[in-house]
C-alpha cells in the first residue's frame, strides 16, 4: 500500500507563489475596469440586474461594488475598501477603487521582475505617508467664518459631490436642500437618521423640497378619518406607543365570572379603559395624536368628534424624527401626561404630493430633524437620486466636522503625483522606481476624468504636469471648457478628509493584496450527507 501524504483535507485548493500574486492583481484589475467609467461628471451609469431580477441604475462606486457580488478573495478587498470609504466619508468610492487598482497595475511589472513584495509594500507605506502629508499641507482651512460664508462653502462641496451623479443638472437646487438639511441637525453628532428621505414618483426633480420638520406618508386610517381636520396652526402633538383600540389587557389574563351581571360590567370596563385613554389624550390638549401602534375606528371617530387628528401605525423612525423635531416624548402610557411631554409645531397640514397624501409638520421649535421629499420619474431614478443625496449629505457632514477642503477635478491627485515624483528622485535604491510608479498611479484620476468626458487625456495630462511643475497647485481638469483650469477658483472643492481616507484605504488595500503569496481554500462545510447504512451492526473481529 502506497503511503499517502495528504496533509490537508481532500478538496482543499492550494495555490501559491508569484503566479498567485499576479493572478490576484489581474483579478483586481478586472473589477476596477468595471467601475472605472463611472468616475466624474461625465461618467456613465451602470445598470445592474441583481439575482432577484431587480434593476438598479447607479453611478455610486460602493453600490456597484456591493451589487457585483464578487467572490474572488483578492478582489473582495476592493469591495471592502469601497465600503470603508462609504462608511467613513460617504463619497469618493469610485476613486478609491480606481486608485488601488492603478497602484497595483503600476507595481505589477516590479513583481514580475522579481522585486520582493515586502520592498514594494514598504515603498507603498512611504507613498501613503507622503501623499497624506501633501494633502494636509495644501488643505485650505475655512474655519470661524460667518454662517453665510460657511453655508456657501458647504454648498460648493455638496455641488462637487453631486456633479458626478445623475442629478448634476439640478445640483444647485439639491445642494441647497442638502446643506439646509444637515445644518438643521444636532450640532456635534449630526445624526444621519434624523434626515428622512421620502420618495414620491411623479413630478419633476425640481419639485423636490425640504421640510424643516417632518413629513411622512399618510398612514392607514379607519372610518371617521375624513371628518378630522387636516390642518392646524400652532398645534400640540401627542406621540404614543399605545394601541388605541379595544384589546386584551394582557395576553395571559383570563376572566372567570360566575354571574351575568358581572359580565356586562366587564364589557363596560373594557370600553371604559379605552375611553379613559382617549379622554386623557383629549384633556391633555393635544390636537394631533400619532401612534406607532394601530388607532382603531372607535378612537378615530372619538378624535374626529373633538376636532383632533390622529394617525396610527406610524413607522418608528418617523415617530422618532417627529419627536426630535417637535420635542415631547414618546409615551407608553397616557397616565399623568404632562404638558411638556407633548410635542409642538407651528403648522400641521396634510398635503397632496404626487399620488400620495403626506402629513407634514413644519415650524418645529426644536427642529433637530428634517425630511427631504424627492420627486421624479422612474423608481430607479429616484433611488439613484436618493443615493446621490446620501453621498452629498455625508460630504457636508464631514466638511462640518473637519473643515478643510482641497480642489477636486484631479488637481490634488496631480499635486500628490508631483510630490511623489520629486521625492523619488532623492531616494536611492529600488524604492526610487517604486515611488515613481506610484506617482504615475495617482495620475489615473485626472486621466480617467478626461477619458470619461471624451477629452484628450494625454494632452491634458501633459498640460497639467507642466502647470503643477510651475507651482500652480490647484490646476485640474475642467470638464466644461474641455481644458485645464484652476479648480480652486472654479469652486470644484472636496473635503480633504475624503482624499486622505481614499489614499489611506487604497494603499492599505494594495499592500494587503501584495502581501499575499498563497491562497488556501478549504472545502465548503458541506451539509451532512445522508447516512448510508452507518456501517454498524457488523460482527466484531476475532
Amino acid at each position: 500500500m502506497q503511503p499517502q501524504i495528504l496533509v490537508l483535507k481532500e478538496g482543499t485548493d492550494q495555490s501559491q507563489g508569484k503566479p498567485q500574486l499576479i493572478s490576484n492583481i489581474n483579478a483586481c484589475q478586472l473589477v476596477v475596469d468595471a467601475v472605472r467609467t463611472t468616475l466624474g461628471p461625465r461618467g456613465m451609469d451602470k445598470l445592474i440586474v441583481d439575482h432577484g431580477g431587480k434593476a438598479v441604475i447607479s453611478n455610486d462606486g460602493a453600490t456597484i461594488m456591493k451589487l457585483l457580488d464578487i467572490v474572488h478573495p483578492a478582489a473582495k478587498t476592493l469591495v471592502d475598501i469601497a465600503k470603508s470609504q462609504d462608511a467613513e466619508v460617504g463619497d469618493g468610492t469610485t476613486s478609491v477603487v480606481i486608485l488601488a487598482g492603478e497602484l497595483l497595475k503600476r507595481l505589477k511589472p516590479f513583481v514580475e521582475d522579481g522585486v520582493h513584495p515586502r520592498i514594494i509594500i514598504r515603498a507603498l507605506r512611504t507613498v501613503s505617508r507622503l501623499a497624506i502629508e501633501r494633502i494636509q499641507e495644501l488643505a485650505v482651512k475655512i474655519e470661524s467664518q460667518s454662517p453665510e460664508e460657511q453655508k456657501e462653502l458647504l454648498r460648493k462641496c455638496a455641488a462637487t459631490a453631486m456633479s458626478s451623479k445623475l442629478i448634476h443638472q439640478q445640483k444647485d437646487h439639491f445642494s441647497k436642500i442638502v446643506v439646509d438639511a444637515v445644518l438643521s441637525l444636532d450640532a456635534p453628532l449630526l445624526p444621519l437618521d434624523m434626515i428622512g428621505i421620502k420618495k414620491v414618483s411623479g413630478g419633476a426633480l425640481e419639485d423636490s423640497f425640504l421640510v424643516s420638520g417632518v413629513a411622512f406618508k399618510k398612514t392607514f386610517s379607519y372610518a371617521g378619518f375624513e371628518m378630522q381636520p387636516k390642518s392646524y396652526n400652532d398645534c400640540k402633538i401627542a406621540l404614543l406607543n399605545i394601541e388605541l383600540e379595544l384589546k386584551a389587557e394582557r395576553d395571559n389574563a383570563q376572566i372567570r365570572l360566575d354571574n351575568v351581571r358581572e359580565y356586562q360590567k366587564v364589557v363596560d370596563a373594557e370600553w371604559q379603559i379605552l375611553y379613559e385613554k382617549l379622554a386623557a389624550l383629549h384633556e391633555s390638549g393635544a390636537n394631533v395624536v400619532l401612534s406607532m401602534l394601530p388607532i382603531g375606528d372607535v378612537a378615530t371617530q372619538y378624535f374626529a368628534d373633538r376636532d383632533m387628528f390622529c394617525a396610527g401605525r406610524v413607522v418608528a423612525e418617523d415617530l422618532r424624527r417627529t419627536q426630535r423635531a417637535c420635542g415631547g416624548a414618546v409615551l407608553s402610557s397616557v397616565r399623568d401626561m404632562k404638558p411638556e411631554s407633548l410635542g409642538r409645531c407651528a403648522q400641521f397640514t396634510e398635503r397632496q404630493v404626487g399620488g400620495e397624501r403626506y402629513n407634514i409638520f413644519t415650524g418645529c421649535p426644536a427642529a433637530k430633524a428634517c425630511t427631504v421629499v424627492l420627486r421624479g420619474g422612474a423608481e430607479q431614478f429616484l433611488e439613484e437620486t436618493e443615493r446621490s443625496l446620501h453621498d452629498a449629505i455625508m460630504i457636508v457632514r464631514r466638511t462640518i466636522k473637519n473643515d478643510a477642503v482641497v480642489a477636486g477635478g484631479g488637481a490634488i491627485d496631480m499635486e500628490i503625483s508631483k510630490r511623489l515624483r520629486d521625492h523619488s528622485r532623492g531616494v536611492a535604491g529600488k524604492e526610487q522606481l517604486l515611488v515613481a510608479a506610484a506617482a504615475r498611479a495617482f495620475e489615473a484620476i485626472p486621466r480617467q476624468l478626461a477619458d470619461n468626458a471624451g477629452l484628450d487625456a494625454t494632452g491634458l495630462l501633459n498640460k497639467l504636469r507642466q502647470r503643477h511643475h510651475a507651482g500652480d497647485v490647484w490646476f485640474g481638469i475642467d470638464i466644461q471648457k474641455e481644458d485645464i483650469a484652476d479648480n480652486y477658483v472654479n469652486c470644484v472643492w472636496e473635503p480633504a478628509v475624503v482624499k486622505i481616507n481614499a489614499v489611506t484605504a487604497a494603499c492599505e488595500a494594495a499592500t494587503q493584496i501584495l502581501s499575499v503569496d498563497e491562497t488556501i481554500k478549504n472545502v465548503k462545510g458541506e451539509a451532512p450527507p445522508q447516512m448510508p447504512g452507518r456501517g454498524m451492526g457488523r460482527p466484531r473481529m476475532g
Binding site: 383570563q254 363596560d268 472545502v523
Partner: protein, 545 residues
C-alpha cells in the same frame, strides 16, 4: 501438486476492510517526516517580518489574510496524523506564550528534515530522539546566559514598547512602532497592582473606515451599539448593571392572571404600571444615571427611564456585561432592584459617538483607574483589521510574558546561531552516536535565520555565514539585518530586535517535543472511516498508534 499451505494472515488481514497500516522506517517514519516537512514549508514563508501573508478561506467561506501561524494552522484543517502533532505543539505554544507559533513549526520541521538524513545514514530513530533531547537540555541550560536585555519596570511605556516591538514586527512590518505603542498603553493602563495581568482585559473594537494611524486606545469600553432611550450622553454617572430584562416582571412558570370582577380588570394594568414606575423612580432617586441590562428593555420601562432621565444601554453578550461591570466596578444584579451604594458602578462619561458611520457607546474613565482598556482599530478592510487584531493579540501576550519574566534574548536569529555554535562544540565531546543528532540539531537551529533570509529574498547561506563569523568574534547578539540588501549581520540588541525569554525557551521545548514524538512512531494504523456523518467535535478519528 504441492500441499497448499495457507499463508499466515498478516496484520492487515486481521483488520477490518479498508483499514490501513503503515509500518517500519520506510513507510511510517519517512512518510511522517515528509508530511511534516511539507506542512512546515507551507507556513515557513510566513515567518518573520518579511514573511508573506496567506489568504485562507475556511470551510464557512470566511476569509483570512494573515501571516500568523496560529491562525493559519487553525483554519487549515490539517488531516495528516503526524502533521497534527506539530499543530498541537504549536497550539500549546499559543496557549502558553501566545506568540511564536510559527517558530515552533519551522524548528520542528527542520529538526525532522535533519533527522531524515541521519536515518538514511542508518542511525536509529531512538538514538536521534535521544540526541535531540540531550541537545535540548543543553540549550535550555545555555539560554539564560544569552539574555541580553531585561525589562524590570514594566510600567514604563518606552521599555515595554521596546519589548513587544519585534513580536508585532513579524505581523505588521512597518507599523510596529505605532501598534506597539497602542498595546503598551493599553496594557499598562490596566496593569493590576497585585494580581497577574489578564489578557482578556484588553478589548479590541474594530470599526471599518479611516486608516490604521487613526486607531486609538481608550480606557474603558466601547460597544458597537446604540442606546435604547433618548438620553445619549451623561457624565460622572452612577451605573446600575442588570442581567435581567428591564421590564414588567414576568413569572417563569406559565401562569394565567385570573380576573374576577370588572374593577380588577380596570386596575390591572394600572397596578403594573405604577409598580414599574416605582421601581424605576427608586433607581433614579438612588442617583443612578445609566442603566445597563443584558436583556430587553420593555417599552413601558423605556418610557419611565426616559421620564426620569436615565440612559439605557443594552448589551447582548453576557461576557460583555460582566466586563462592563468590572470596568465600572458594579455588581451585576439579577433582579430589577435598586442597587446599594456598593453595587453601583461609576463611570466618568458614557456617550454615544460616531466613528466612521458606526454608532458606538463609549464608557470611558478619565480620572479613576479603569480595569479594562479598549483598542479601537480602524482600517480599510475587515481582513486588514483582523490581522491587526491578531498582531495586537500577540503583543498583549508578549506583554503578559514580560510581566512574568522580563528577560529578553537577541532576536533576528542571533540566539539560534549562538546556540548552534555552542552545540557544535559540545557535540565533539560526546562519545556515542548521539553526537550526530546533536550536530543536526545545530543545523536545524540555523533554519530560523535561514527562513528570515529566504523570506526577505537574501542569500540564506551567505547570511548564515556572516552571522557565524560575527559570533566567532564574540559578538553574541549579532543576527540577520532585515533592512540590508546584501545580507549583512547586525547587532540585534542595538536594533531593538528582542524576543522574550519565555517565548524562546517554550518554543524550543515544544518543537523538540513534537519532533521526537513523531520520530518515535514507527507504525501508523488508520481505521476505516466510518460512514455516515462525521462526529461533530473532531473530524477524523485517526489513530496515531
Amino acid at each position: 501438486m504441492a500441499l497448499h499451505v495457507p499463508k499466515a494472515p498478516g496484520v492487515p488481514q486481521m483488520l477490518k476492510d479498508g483499514a490501513r497500516m503503515l509500518s517500519g522506517i520506510e513507510e511510517a517514519v519517512y512518510s511522517n517526516i515528509n508530511a511534516c516537512k511539507q506542512f512546515a514549508k507551507s507556513v515557513r514563508s510566513a515567518y518573520g517580518p518579511n514573511g508573506m501573508n496567506k489568504m485562507i478561506i475556511n470551510h464557512i467561506e470566511k476569509q483570512f489574510v494573515t501571516s500568523d501561524a496560529g491562525t493559519i494552522i487553525r483554519e487549515l484543517d490539517v488531516e495528516h496524523p503526524a502533521a497534527k502533532l506539530m499543530v498541537l505543539a504549536s497550539q500549546m505554544q499559543d496557549s502558553e506564550v501566545g506568540d511564536g507559533t510559527n517558530f515552533v513549526i519551522v524548528l520542528s520541521g527542520s529538526l525532522l528534515e535533519a533527522a531524515e538524513e541521519l536515518l538514511r545514514l542508518g542511525v536509529t530513530p531512538s538514538e536521534i530522539a535521544e540526541g535531540y533531547e540531550q541537545a535540548l537540555d543543553k540549550c535550555l541550560e545555555w539560554l539564560p546566559e544569552l539574555v541580553c536585555h531585561e525589562i524590570k519596570d514594566y510600567k514604563n511605556v518606552e521599555a515595554v514598547v521596546a519589548g513587544i516591538r519585534s513580536s508585532i514586527m513579524s505581523k505588521q512590518y512597518g507599523n510596529e512602532d505605532f501598534i506597539a505603542r497602542l498595546v503598551a498603553k493599553a496594557c499598562i493602563a490596566i496593569l493590576p497592582e497585585k494580581t497577574t495581568f489578564n489578557v482578556d482585559n484588553v478589548r479590541i473594537c474594530k470599526i471599518l473606515g479611516a486608516g490604521l494611524q487613526q486607531s486609538e486606545v481608550l480606557s474603558g469600553m466601547v460597544f458597537k451599539r446604540e442606546v435604547e432611550g433618548d438620553i445619549t450622553s451623561v457624565t460622572k454617572a452612577k451605573v446600575a448593571v442588570y442581567s435581567c430584562p428591564v421590564d414588567i416582571t414576568q413569572t417563569e412558570t406559565k401562569g394565567t392572571v385570573l380576573i374576577k370582577t370588572a374593577d380588577e380588570l380596570l386596575n390591572f394594568s394600572r397596578g403594573e404600571e405604577s409598580l414599574l414606575e416605582k421601581q424605576i423612580k427608586e433607581i433614579a432617586d438612588a442617583g443612578i444615571k445609566v442603566v445597563v441590562a443584558g436583556a430587553k428593555f420593555g417599552d413601558m420601562a423605556l418610557h419611565f427611564l426616559n421620564k426620569y432621565g436615565l440612559m439605557a444601554v443594552r448589551l447582548n453578550s453576557k461576557f460583555d456585561l460582566r466586563r462592563l461591570a468590572k470596568t465600572v466596578n458594579a455588581t451585576v444584579l439579577p433582579r430589577l432592584t435598586t442597587p446599594t451604594a456598593d453595587e453601583q458602578g461609576y463611570c466618568d462619561t458614557v456617550k454615544v459617538d460616531e466613528v466612521g458611520d458606526t454608532r458606538v457607546v463609549v464608557f470611558s474613565m478619565e480620572t479613576s483607574e479603569s480595569r479594562i482598556s479598549t483598542v479601537v482599530i480602524r482600517g480599510s478592510t475587515d481582513n486588514y483589521m483582523d490581522d491587526i487584531e491578531r498582531a495586537i493579540d500577540d503583543g498583549v501576550n508578549t506583554f503578559k510574558a514580560i510581566s512574568r519574566d522580563g528577560r529578553f534574548l537577541p532576536g533576528a536569529g542571533a540566539t539560534e546561531i549562538e546556540l548552534a555554535q555552542k552545540l557544535l562544540q559540545y557535540a565533539d565531546t560526546l562519545p556515542g552516536l548521539e553526537q550526530y543528532a546533536v550536530r543536526k540539531f545545530a543545523v536545524a537551529l540555523e533554519s530560523i535565520p535561514r527562513a528570515l533570509a529566504d523570506n526577505s529574498g537574501a542569500n540564506a547561506t551567505e547570511v548564515i555565514n556572516n552571522i557565524y563569523k560575527a559570533h566567532k568574534d564574540g559578538k553574541k547578539t549579532y543576527g540577520y539585518d532585515i533592512e540590508s540588501d546584501s545580507g549583512d549581520a547586525c547587532d540585534a540588541k542595538e536594533k531593538g530586535v528582542l524576543d522574550a525569554y519565555l517565548l524562546k525557551s517554550w518554543g524550543i521545548k515544544y518543537a523538540v517535543g513534537a519532533a521526537t514524538t513523531i520520530l518515535k512512531v514507527n507504525q501508523i494504523i488508520m481505521a476505516k472511516r466510518a460512514g455516515g456523518p462525521k462526529p461533530k467535535a473532531a473530524p477524523g478519528s485517526d489513530d496515531e498508534s
